[in-house]
């Protein structure tokens, strides 16, 4: 499972960086989205990958190993913020397309 998660994060990051370096704003926005997916997965893995462990509240008080709940809270925050930022940057890219007449990130062809 570690290899699969690591590979997914790596592929997402690689594609995100590649798209970020494109000259048009639409691939750049897609690249940002892929990067934020990669970082969300990464944050999720920072609590270490475990299978079949209870969440923080254990019925009957049998405290032992738990799934770390904090990364899940961090991921939730990151998803919400990332979502808002993506919406904003899409609007900005559309505005730039309208103001500058093309969708090159530098505004010139």
């Amino acid at each position: 499972m570690e290899a699969l998660i690591a590979l997914s994060i790596g592929v997402l990051t690689g594609c995100g960086v590649y798209l970020l370096l494109r000259a048009r704003s639409f691939p750049v926005v897609l690249g940002l989205t892929l990067l934020s997916y990669a970082v969300n997965l990464f944050l999720f893995a920072t609590g270490r990958l475990v299978i079949g462990l209870p969440p923080v509240i254990v019925g009957g008080g049998a405290a032992g190993s738990l799934a770390n709940p904090l990364p899940q809270a961090l991921v939730l925050t990151a998803i919400v913020i990332g979502f808002a930022m993506t919406a904003f940057v899409i609007m900005l890219a559309l505005r730039a397309r309208a103001e500058l007449g093309n969708d090159h990130v530098d505004g010139t062809r």
């Binding site: 934020s36 944050l43 961090l74 930022m85 505005r95 103001e99 500058l100 530098d106």
Partner: protein
């Protein structure tokens, strides 16, 4: 009252922002009053906070009253209070200047302005790394709105660069925070410092990678070489009061670097101590040099001011790279550099309005009305920005030179050469703006500035001159105060750096401070 003092600087702008959003149908004059009163209240809070922590006490505010490493804490020490005071004083004159017309060119200017102050206040006061990320997001999204305020092709183009780069920076911040949590098991800044001392060898690499990624993120915010390319376009194209307020934004990055340098990776952090040492000074000196070269090549006063902001970050981080005395000198320089940069942006706007054909570009133009006043003000701003005697910039630079006397000789060479280049660039600007006049046809009246935020039937603004002058003279007064009160200011800066040199006080206050 004192128990809640640490959260008041955050609450005041937030309440004002919500209020301004709810009352958006009021006439602009009323909204301007609300915004100004809010900033005045924030100054009063910042002064109260400064008095409360001046004796060395560290105020810790546990949100939800959870014990420290498990919850988010706000921590007000001398450094945070000093920066809050500088921010709110700058904001006062920025908001007064915005009343000269900039706030009508788009919607919700004052809401975004207060949200910006809200984000900056959290960034200075938080004691939690992930909360610092959230603070950065708040101040960034407000800054996106402010940067694009008023619209126009140039603003949108440089705004797109700024937004995309900062979104990448935010992603890197999340990677860094994740690495730190994965290797040290905590995000509380005091707890990170404590855990770093005993980090397991197999996690050391992860922690170092996380720490250095943080350096890159803060370097991007601070416009450190090679991550400064977003700054000249963004600052030079935005509205003048926004650019003036943004003069503090690079200092937020510098603050985060200083805090992680002295606390997270401070002398007691074991294998992680001094993580930034190899990178800090060379990059700071290179930033200083590149900033000054850019200033020499700038074609307009706004571009020149933007490049000087970069150079000022370089000088600030050079100072922070020296020992305790260097940090003290840098902390005295920080408000001066911020006020001087803001003053230059406001002067550029004033000159732009009075030079119809060539705006603030360094091309000949017909003689402007009241040239003695504007020339004198520009001279003052240039002396302040170049760090020449007798103003506080010179005192700060002298202290930085004295503090780095024991360091590598290249520091002196770089600082002195940068001062020379800065003086040349500003002298060139002044002679082009004021001495080379020619008769030019007044240009045909362009499209009138679109006033978006004006209700039908609302009276037009009175002439903008008095507000503009009030803001400019206010900043001049701040710089003069910093010069005259150099004694107490330097003493306080030294007290800050002594507190920073003893991170165990901070750690103890956060993790073992008395429970309420």
């Amino acid at each position: 009252m004192k128990a809640h003092l640490a959260i008041l600087p955050i609450l005041a702008p937030f309440v004002a922002a919500v209020l301004l959003l709810a009352l958006r149908d009021l006439p602009m004059a009323t909204r301007r009053w609300i915004a100004t009163l809010s900033v005045l209240a924030q100054i009063a809070i910042a002064i109260a906070l400064l008095q409360a922590v001046a004796g060395g006490e560290i105020l810790v505010y546990r949100l939800g009253d959870w014990p420290a490493p498990w919850s988010i804490v706000l921590v007000a020490d001398r450094l945070a209070a000093w920066l809050m005071l500088a921010t709110t004083l700058l904001a006062l004159f920025a908001v007064i200047h915005a009343g000269a017309g900039a706030d009508r060119q788009g919607r919700h200017f004052h809401v975004l302005f207060q949200m910006q102050l809200f984000g900056i206040a959290i960034a200075f006061l938080t004691g939690d790394l992930f909360n610092l990320f959230v603070a950065f997001e708040i101040l960034l999204i407000a800054s996106y709105g402010l940067l694009l305020h008023g619209g126009g092709a140039a603003r949108v183009r440089s705004g797109l660069h700024y937004v995309v780069l900062n979104l990448v920076g935010s992603t890197l911040f999340l990677f860094a925070a994740g690495l730190i949590y994965a290797s040290l098991g905590t995000l509380n800044m005091a707890d990170i410092a404590r855990q770093a001392a005993t980090v397991a060898p197999e996690n050391l690499g992860l922690a170092r990678a996380g720490g250095l990624l943080l350096f890159a993120v803060f370097g991007l915010k601070a416009a450190l070489l090679p991550l400064f390319f977003w700054l000249p376009g963004a600052y030079a194209n935005t509205a003048a009061p926004v650019a003036a307020l943004f003069a503090i934004m690079t200092k937020v990055g510098a603050y985060a670097l200083l805090r992680s340098d002295t606390l997270l990776f401070g002398p007691e952090s074991g294998a992680l101590a001094g993580l930034y040492e190899a990178w800090r000074l060379p990059l700071a000196l290179a930033t200083l040099a590149v900033g000054m070269v850019g200033a020499l090549a700038a074609p307009s006063l706004r571009q020149l001011a933007a490049w000087l902001v970069i150079a000022s970050v370089g000088l600030l981080l050079t100072a922070f790279s020296a020992d305790t005395a260097g940090i003290a000198a840098g902390l005295y320089y920080l408000p001066h550099g911020t006020f001087a940069a803001a003053l230059l942006f406001l002067m550029a706007e004033a000159l732009k309005r009075r030079r119809p054909a060539s705006a603030d570009f360094f091309t000949p133009e017909r003689d402007m009305p009241r040239h003695a006043l504007w020339g004198g003000l520009f001279f003052f701003a240039a002396v302040a920005a170049a760090g020449l005697p007798p103003l506080s910039g010179f005192l700060a630079k002298f202290m930085i030179l004295r503090a780095s006397a024991g360091g590598p000789g290249i520091v002196w060479v770089a600082i002195l050469l940068a001062a020379l280049f800065g003086t040349i660039a500003l002298a060139r600007a002044g002679s082009a703006l004021f001495f080379s006049t020619r008769t030019v046809e007044p240009p045909p009246p362009g499209a009138p500035v679109l006033l978006v935020d004006q209700h039908p039937g609302e009276a037009a603004d009175p002439p903008s001159g008095p507000r503009e002058l009030a803001a400019i003279f206010g900043l001049v007064g701040l710089i003069l105060t910093l010069t005259v009160a150099a004694g107490p200011a330097v003493e306080f800066a030294e007290a800050i750096s002594r507190q920073l040199a003893a991170p165990e006080l901070y750690i103890h206050a956060v993790l073992e401070g008395s429970r309420p």
